[in-house]
Structure formats: structure tokens, C-alpha cells
Symmetry: C2
Subunit: 150 residues, 2 copies
């Protein structure tokens, strides 16, 4: 596999400049919108929508998941299911940034090769994951892959 | 205004451990879910849902917006509208992390005091914003406040 070619198609669909908008909807609620119109709702009290830190955590899971699935698909690995559990611990006092994040990838499919999975995770972490590389480098991020039945 | 008391209510509603889940939905699409059940959909090709980097950008806008509105509300500033435009530039080659982010806050209301707005932004950036402090410190983040009619 040529690493640069393997991610070329996916990576080339994303622009270098990204834009978004937020509109206050009363109290501590905000309606967010990506430049393509996808809506994401925030609530400081988390009675509605999500907390910004929850969206951040899911964005890391999403970025790594897209990388890993993309790499495995290029290698013709036949996935039947793929799930991610992510949890993050935050500094107890403000600023409540994430100090550690644990990710569990749960893959099922036909004859999934652990080496390919581990290599895909490594490539995402070290080379491709835009979200991971936008985060502070001192966050302790651990990733575990569980291969088996759904 | 006591700074720690002013954000106490909002900050105490968020837990130190946050969890989320993702489920692959074919191709490069994933359905995300916060621990409270809010759904966030990702698509590596951005034909559906959003890109993880877009969600990350909005999470920063949301976190700062919640801080600023929360601080201004505690100071009895009467906001009529509040909008945020955010744009981020990414490294052109992988990893395509954000190198700079520009945020424009657009506030309208009765006799809004620029000093209070500037101080609220400063407090968010330096002390409260969980998302900003989870990002790498070398990202150049500029914030502009526009006070006026909607």
C-alpha cells in the first residue's frame, strides 16, 4: 500500500479553509451550522443539544474512525461492523481541558487481520488525523482495538 | 464580579468524564451519539453530516460563545442577538491540523459596554474555555467583537 495514495481521495475532498456559524437561541443555547448547512446544537447546561466538549470528543472519534475505515477499505478488508467508544477525562478546575482520552475501536468482519488494524490506527495517530493533531500534544490518548463478533 | 462565582453554575453542570459513541453507517459515514443521546453525524466525504474538523471548529465557537454569554448575563448585560462566525485554516498536507482560527462575535443589545465584552472574551480565552485549552497552544487564534445592530 502506498500511504499517500491510500488516503488521497478522502483527504482531497476537504478544503484547507473551513467555516462555521453560531446563532444564540436564548439562555446558554446556540445553533451551529457548518458551511455546508449541517446543524449542530450546543447547550451550556446540556439540557438540549450537546456540550462543546462532547462535540470535540466525538470529532476526535470521527476523525480517527474515518481514517481507519478508509485505510482498511483500501486494503480490501471486509468490515461488517465498526463501532467506537470514546471517553475523556478533564481537568477538574477551569480550564477544564481534556487530560486523557481513551478510545476503543470494535471491529467485526471476515478474517480481519490485527496487524492491518494496528497499522491503520498508527497511521491515523501519527500521520493523518487532523483532529488529533489539532489537540494539545500532552493529552494522553490510548487506543484499543477489539476484533470479533458484533 | 467574582470571576469564579460568575461561571460556577454553568461549569458545575458538566462532569469531568465525558463519553461518546460512534457507529459506522457504511462508506465513510458514522453516527455519533453523546452520553445523553444527542446525535452528531460524520461523513469523510462530507456529502452527509459534517466533517470531524468542522465539528471541532464549531465546538470551539460554542465553548467561547457559552462563556461570553454566561459572563455577560451574570453582569446583567441585555443581549438582543449574538452570532459567531468562525473560520479556520489548516495545514495543507497531512496531518491537516488547524494552524490559525479567526472568530468574529457579533453582539447586539441595549448599551453594550465594549469593555465588558472584551473582558468576557479575555476570561474565556485565558481561564474558562475548555475547548480552547484542549487545542494545541501554537494555533493562532484571533477574536474580534462587533457590537451593533443585528
Amino acid at each position: 500500500m502506498s500511504e499517500s495514495v491510500s488516503m488521497g481521495d478522502y483527504k482531497s475532498t476537504t478544503s484547507n479553509i473551513l467555516k462555521g456559524q453560531l446563532k444564540w437561541a436564548g439562555d446558554l443555547t446556540f445553533q451551529g451550522r457548518t458551511q455546508r448547512g449541517y446543524e449542530l446544537d450546543f447547550d451550556g447546561k446540556v439540557e438540549w443539544g450537546c456540550a462543546p466538549t462532547e462535540a470535540l470528543l466525538l470529532s476526535l472519534a470521527g476523525c480517527m474512525a474515518i481514517d481507519v475505515v478508509s485505510i482498511l477499505q483500501k486494503q480490501r478488508v471486509e468490515l461488517e461492523s465498526f463501532k467506537v467508544d470514546i471517553s475523556g477525562e478533564r481537568n477538574p478546575a477551569p480550564p477544564q481541558y481534556f487530560t486523557s482520552i481513551h478510545i476503543i475501536l470494535r471491529l467485526a468482519g471476515k478474517d480481519i487481520d490485527r496487524k492491518k488494524v494496528d497499522r491503520a490506527i498508527e497511521l491515523s495517530q501519527e500521520k493523518y488525523c487532523s483532529v488529533r493533531h489539532t489537540l494539545r500534544p500532552d493529552i494522553e490518548i490510548t487506543i484499543e482495538a477489539v476484533i470479533g463478533k458484533e
